[in-house]
Symmetry: C2
Subunit: 411 residues, 2 copies
């Protein structure tokens, strides 16, 4: 197939030391190229990819020091990308919804004649900027109502508070040849890896490790653009660091990460939110490192309890699991990822989704008039407007408000 991806402009592909969405985009595209697809990637100039790269910005905005809330340059990348697509021929546009500024893509691509698919990498609300969280996501559902979506876990799909059109749930995949353990003999430490924000539970990992009497190594980034993240790190993490039992080794690049996780007894993942995936769990398991995670978010979909790690309900159970960690066979831990989270399977499932999106697009294009939202005149109460508009749409095109039809043209 002739596929074009529009990447967010914020983080390098692949990411230097942080970026979940950007890892997935990188892995998916490498595999799509390997499977023989023609792939174009619209992304900043510092991207590394086997696809054809087209850039409108010289480097990722995060690398350039642009704060997350400064949307205009990100919009420029997206707008130029859509213009590029309009002037070229593709079978499918794959978009990635990861942060607020990606929402601009939806109206920008609405009038393209090529079918679209969007992966929902993050969680609602998207009406946020810096520490501000707005109330306008319901407005933007206009833009999303008609877009075939892919969720990254059943959990992520379940958490969406709107009636959107999910074509499928596709778990992330990992390239096993990259994620090869650097040792078969782990060392006696526990690992925690992530961005330092309370939801990722670094402070709970510290508590569990101290209680179990096992050293803990923490790795990852402190986002200096987010005052709350800086405060959390300085107040809750730094005072616990003793350089020995509880140690912070900073951000890790890919090579360092492979070694850090390969050598760890286990990865602790005491998340305090419904995390939509949790790529780090996959990475640890691929390297033979079992995961002890709170039973929240997508963890039950990712971790095979008692085979590739332990799912626990609280700190006490986490401590008990730390003690039992040697019961697990590290080869089996790795095999779990190999069997269920390969990039090959991920890419193949996306190809199936593309085929369905194309079939739906063709059918809609030939059998339905364009859906034109009626303008709103002199009605200042937005919630009323939205529901009225929804009613009207469903009256005119009933099938739009129900499930997407399955395409008969699937291969």
């Amino acid at each position: 197939m002739n596929i074009v991806h529009i990447a967010p402009a914020w983080i390098s592909i692949p990411p230097k030391n942080y970026g979940g969405t950007e890892v997935v985009i990188y892995n998916l595209i490498e595999e799509q190229v390997a499977q023989g697809h023609s792939v174009t990637l619209l992304a900043p100039g510092d991207t590394k990819t086997s696809a054809r790269l087209v850039s409108f910005l010289p480097k990722a905005l995060g690398e350039d020091g642009v704060p997350w809330y400064a949307h205009l340059k990100a919009f420029y990348h997206l707008q130029k990308s859509v213009e590029y697509i309009r002037e070229h021929t593709f079978d499918i546009v794959h978009m990635h919804l990861s942060s607020a500024s990606d929402m601009y893509l939806l109206p920008l691509t609405a009038s393209l004649s090529v079918p679209r698919v969007m992966t929902l990498h993050s969680c609602f609300p998207f009406d946020r900027a810096g520490s501000y969280i707005g109330d306008a996501d319901s407005y933007y559902m206009d833009w999303l109502a008609d877009v075939p979506l892919v969720a990254i876990s059943e959990q992520a799909r379940k958490e969406v508070p709107y009636d959107l059109k999910f074509l499928d749930v596709i778990h992330h995949g990992l390239p096993m040849q990259v994620f090869t353990p650097t040792t078969s003999e782990p060392e006696p430490y526990l690992a925690w890896l992530g961005r330092f924000v309370p939801e990722k539970g670094a402070h709970l990992a510290i508590a569990a490790a101290k209680e179990a009497g096992v050293p803990l190594m923490l790795a990852g980034i402190v986002d200096r653009h987010l005052p709350d993240a800086v405060r959390y790190f300085e107040e809750e993490i730094e005072p616990e660091l003793d350089g020995e039992r509880i140690k912070y080794i900073g951000p890790v690049n890919m090579e360092q990460k492979l070694d850090f996780l390969s050598r760890a007894k286990a990865l602790l993942n005491p998340i305090t939110w419904e995390e939509p995936f949790g790529m780090v769990m996959l990475e640890a398991m691929a390297l033979g490192c079992p995961v002890i995670s709170f039973r929240r978010g997508a963890a039950p979909e990712v971790v095979h309890h008692t085979r590739s790690g332990f799912l626990v309900s609280n700190l006490e159970e986490m401590v008990q699991s730390i003690v039992r960690i040697d019961d697990l066979d590290r080869a089996q831990v790795r095999a779990h990822v190999e069997q269920h989270f390969s990039v090959k399977a991920m890419a193949e499932r996306y190809t199936q989704v593309y085929r369905r999106a194309i079939a739906i697009h063709v059918r809609n294009h030939w059998t339905r008039p364009a859906l034109v939202a009626p303008p709103i005149v002199h009605l200042p109460v937005s919630s009323t407007l939205i529901s009225k508009r929804g009613d009207l749409a469903s009256a005119v095109f009933p099938s739009l408000t129900t499930q997407f039809p399955m395409a008969e043209t699937e291969a």
Copy 2:
């Protein structure tokens, strides 16, 4: 004519106690309706206007507590506005470029079949968000290169660091019947009115008033979303307030403003930047209150030296002018505005600009192929890209890089 205005979504129209652009939009539209045009205003639901109002947001974002850097909701308003225009018939779209988020309008309206005009209300750079100032304005010139612009002063036009297409300079106008002096006997105080930011020189007004030995009343807003503005007020202004000789009376609404300026001996305007207009000078003069301004920005275009006020070069000259203020005839001060800054003249000049924009649009539409910017592939240094693209455009369409042709079809 059948005119549609797209207003920014941030500040109410007319503004409650601050908003230069929003005052101008309000005055212009009221006069356009009075002159018999059919006018549609796309603006939030709390707008007051004699035009036909179409709203996509219930109220101005600033009234709703949305910080300036949270662009997505502003974009929603603009995107819905453009969609509305696409589905209706107008002779001309009048856009207003006032803050960074208005830049989204340019690509959004690029494919409209109706001609566009944009008033440049503010100054470059527009690549800014909160305290962040970016370097990407040159990228966005792609979007602006083809748009007929109106500057609000010769000064504003001169300051633009890019080769853009200005059709005209149109000074703001004031409705004289609204700006009627509330007294013919001014009181012995000087006035300063504005947003508290260093460029507007409230601290210098205080210094001049103290030196001259005349009381000063300050009025205006402290933008709580801008930490620099809050710091400036707390450190440079507040310590000077004694409630008697130097007094701050808070923000003023229209009624309060009319009285505040009518009763003042003079307005001090010791600006420290090249302010593109300075609406407050016009408002003061209309009320018979002479203006003593630094000879910067558009002040020489707005103030008639020795007739409607004094243009001075430094604080010492400002103090000397305060002493001489009774030399000026307050009726003459008002007459200066009546003669040179009427809303009638402003609206008529805009009608002429619309006619020229329409003529240019028709000519371009029928005689030139669409200008398609060549895509950029694998060239990460943006400055090179921009200059290359500019060269190409000028080679293909030489007249685009010179002055706009005058339309022969003007009435």
